[in-house]
């Protein structure tokens, strides 16, 4: 047991530290620190920059165009990015569909899709949730009917983040309505410019347009849009469980950014007697968040070290997701509290510029509400851990 990095990893850390220090655009930082997402064009520019260094897909194996990092290097990559207030990469192509394509896709699909994900040329959106299928995702009712050399897809998707930006969508649709719930579901890779797709924006409580409703009316796609086999779409998602470790590392290591932001806000928030940080109650609450984050970061280090030596981490990645989202919410709530009236200016009026340093901490606090809902609500995560890991 040790916490040390070997000389190769130390050199890698120094290289990453220099890179992120020199290349993180300063205009990203105020938003990144609060846990907010960037604009799509900014994400794409960041992706292309990383790709130019060979790091477009830090978690992928080299044979598929990945950086070929070891889990330890991946951990270093994310922790150094966090330290420099650098963004996460947008994950739906990189982490949600890319690995399914390189594990189960045809050679033609791999050649068509993987390089464009790594290069930042394609933007993928996820067509999973539906109005009647949220936590109960296997209740999807979107249909895909074979008609000669086409599948005809009809239905409605909900909470489709960045459908308005994406040129590709991966979606779950029912190909066999008679089969048992999960067994009739297939996974399709479709182009967003296919006729019959209508997108309606959904503005979320942070007043940002991230997400959408997507209507599919007789959308005709080629048979090659099917990934793998008909009726196996549900099972392909399992490959992602093994990869959750890397995703939770990227998220969790960013908590340091929010904690730095909150601590700085406390140090700068003036009171009649000094600053908020002089109040021992404030220092105490910050300390509590910081020590909880320390526990989570060490959980991440353990899962990455286990990945490096091929060991199973059980349900720890799901546990980290639960605790990370809870902590992110609490820290951003506290940050907003610390700002007092400085958190009030949320939107500009008329020609007057917005007072203060921008609405980002308050937006980050509001945005954080979704983190305990998306990717399987925390209650669903707890159900799964209880069943799979605790035998209840």
């Amino acid at each position: 047991m040790n916490l040390d990095l070997d000389p190769t990893d130390r050199a890698f850390r120094d290289q990453m530290r220099t890179f992120f220090a020199e290349h993180t655009p300063p205009e990203f930082k105020a938003r990144i620190r609060t846990g907010m997402r960037l604009e799509p064009a900014e994400y794409t520019a960041w992706q292309k920059l990383l790709h130019s260094r060979g790091w477009g897909a830090p978690s992928w194996p080299k044979e598929h165009g990945g950086a070929g990092f070891t889990p330890t290097q991946h951990y270093i990559f994310e922790s150094e990015a966090s330290r420099a207030d650098a963004p996460m990469q947008y994950h739906q192509g990189l982490e949600l569909i890319g690995p399914i394509v390189f594990t189960f896709g045809s050679e033609a699909q791999k050649a068509k899709y993987l390089p464009a994900i790594v290069a930042g040329d394609d933007w993928w959106c996820q067509g999973y949730s539906e109005p009647g299928a949220g936590s109960d995702l296997a209740a999807v009712s979107t249909r895909a009917v074979r008609d000669g050399d086409r599948y005809v897809i009809s239905g409605q998707k909900a909470w489709t983040s960045y459908a308005h930006v994406a040129n590709r969508m991966f979606l779950l649709a029912r190909t066999d309505p008679q089969a048992r719930k999960q067994a009739g579901i297939s996974l399709f890779l479709i182009d967003m410019d296919t006729p019959g797709i209508t997108i309606r924006p959904v503005i979320t409580m942070d007043e940002v347009h991230h997400t959408n409703e997507v209507f599919l009316d007789d959308v005709r796609v080629p048979l090659t849009a099917l990934l793998g086999e008909e009726g196996k779409g549900w099972g392909y998602g399992k490959v992602l469980l093994d990869r959750e470790r890397g995703v939770t590392a990227a998220f969790t290591l960013r908590l340091a950014q929010q904690l730095r932001g909150a601590r700085q806000a406390a140090a700068q928030a003036l009171t009649p007697g000094g600053t908020m940080l002089d109040d021992p109650r404030v220092a105490d609450r910050l300390a509590q968040f910081e020590l909880e984050a320390m526990a989570l970061e060490t959980m991440v280090m353990r899962t990455m070290a286990e990945a490096a030596s091929g060991q199973d981490s059980g349900p720890r990645a799901s546990m980290i997701k639960i605790r990370w989202s809870e902590l992110l919410q609490q820290v951003t709530e506290f940050w907003t509290e610390l700002l007092g009236y400085d958190a009030a200016p949320f939107g500009a009026v008329g020609n007057q510029p917005l007072a203060g340093e921008g609405p980002w901490p308050a937006k980050g606090m509001l945005y954080a509400r979704v983190t305990s809902i998306y990717g399987g609500a925390n209650e669903i995560q707890r159900n799964i851990i209880a069943r799979r890991a605790l035998g209840l």
């Binding site: 320390m294 353990r302 070290a305 209880a386 605790l390």
Partner: protein
């Protein structure tokens, strides 16, 4: 970056687990606890025979010169079975401090510790000091060939079963100063020393001490006069981390008991574990165990860092393990229902032990305040 045990450490883990199975069945533990003698001499002798009592004795003193990881492995196994033996006081704190003692008493006491022939307790608190190690009013006045010690100590872990005490006392400076603290070895039968023993809720026998003109020789001074504070802090940080591993073992054991209960206890025609409210509680307990394990590893592997960094991490770990372990212990009682409240079931004894570990060397609130103070400077940048 590696969190795996070495092959030797795995062997140590396995033999400690076997020791627990062989000698710490709950019924036997309960009978021993009821005797009120604090710990079992036969088990202590067996642990000496296995070499465990010499683990932290330096090789130069005939010991094994083990690492904090070795201590962690043992303590986790001991925590699973609610060990009663005075391991942390005698085999973690004492060997660390005795390294600085003069050769004669140093070797004699190290030998006695390794053989299971001496229990050594640190008098770690005074009335009014709360958990502040360097708030010391006890005075040590130099006399011909030695010192005279006078003062009150409000807590000495395992002090009711100790043969020797390590007593911090002032040879100079004011009551709250870091300087001027010296450490003294005092035998339990010293004239002028009164020992007021009491049993804690976890069946350890601790003590309060009154030193009323206790005379000790010059060789009783551990290290140089006035330089005791950093050594005391280091030894106590090691002791804290050892107790975190103990808490970890206890947490895992009590979680397993609770899961077993949820799987087997039937109410409303189904196992308790079929109820979602209880499933989610069990998951939160399991997450608490994972957090505690992570913090214990981090703290164990940080014990050799420079003092400020070591103290910051140990304080954070103690705070978080205290919080998570009390959550687990209390929920374990709750999920067991009425039987969880019974003295006949192990689960309540685990909560009592975890309560005492929280208290030891500063509870969660104290350690969080210590962490906050140590975090103020570096993280504000």
């Amino acid at each position: 970056m590696d969190f795996d045990l070495s092959d030797e450490q795995k062997l140590l883990r396995d033999s400690a687990a076997r020791f627990g199975e062989d000698h710490y069945a709950f019924s036997a533990w309960r009978a021993r606890a009821a005797e009120g003698r604090g710990f079992d001499r036969a088990n202590w002798g067996r642990m000496a025979g296995l070499g465990w009592l010499a683990l932290n004795v330096p090789e130069a003193d005939g010991g094994l010169g083990g690492s904090p990881i070795d201590t962690m492995v043992l303590m986790e196994a001991f925590g699973r079975v609610l060990m009663l033996e005075p391991y942390v006081s005698t085999c973690v704190i004492a060997p660390l401090l005795l390294r600085h003692a003069v050769a004669g008493p140093r070797r004699a006491l190290m030998d006695a510790i390794a053989a299971g022939a001496a229990v050594v307790s640190l008098a770690d608190a005074e009335p009014g000091s709360r958990f502040d190690l360097q708030h010391i009013a006890t005075r040590a006045a130099p006399t011909d060939g030695g010192f005279v010690l006078s003062g009150d100590k409000s807590h000495a872990l395992d002090g009711g079963v100790a043969d020797w005490f390590i007593v911090p006392a002032r040879t100079a400076a004011g009551v709250a100063d870091a300087g001027g603290i010296s450490l003294f070895l005092v035998p339990a039968d010293a004239a002028g020393l009164s020992i007021h023993a009491s049993r804690a809720m976890d069946h350890r026998i601790n003590a309060r001490l009154r030193l009323d003109g206790v005379r000790v020789g010059a060789e009783a001074l551990i290290g140089d006069a006035g330089d005791g504070a950093p050594r005391l802090r280091q030894a106590v940080d090691h002791a804290i981390v050892a107790r975190l591993a103990e808490a970890l073992g206890a947490m895992d054991a009590v979680c397993e008991m609770t899961l077993q209960h949820l799987r087997t206890r039937q109410q409303f025609g189904q196992p308790l574990g079929a109820f979602q409210a209880l499933q989610h509680r069990a998951v939160d307990m399991a997450i608490a165990c994972e957090e505690a394990r992570s913090m214990t590893y981090l703290a164990t592997l940080s014990l050799d860092k420079p003092e400020a960094e070591r103290g910051r991490i140990v304080a954070a770990a103690k705070a978080r393990v205290s919080q998570t372990s009390l959550y687990v212990g209390r929920q374990a009682v709750q999920l067991h229902g009425g039987v969880g409240f019974s003295e006949e079931l192990a689960v309540g004894h685990y909560l009592k032990r975890l309560t005492m570990i929280d208290m030891a060397f500063g509870n969660a609130d104290h350690q969080r305040a210590r962490f906050a103070a140590l975090s103020q400077a570096p993280a504000a940048a």
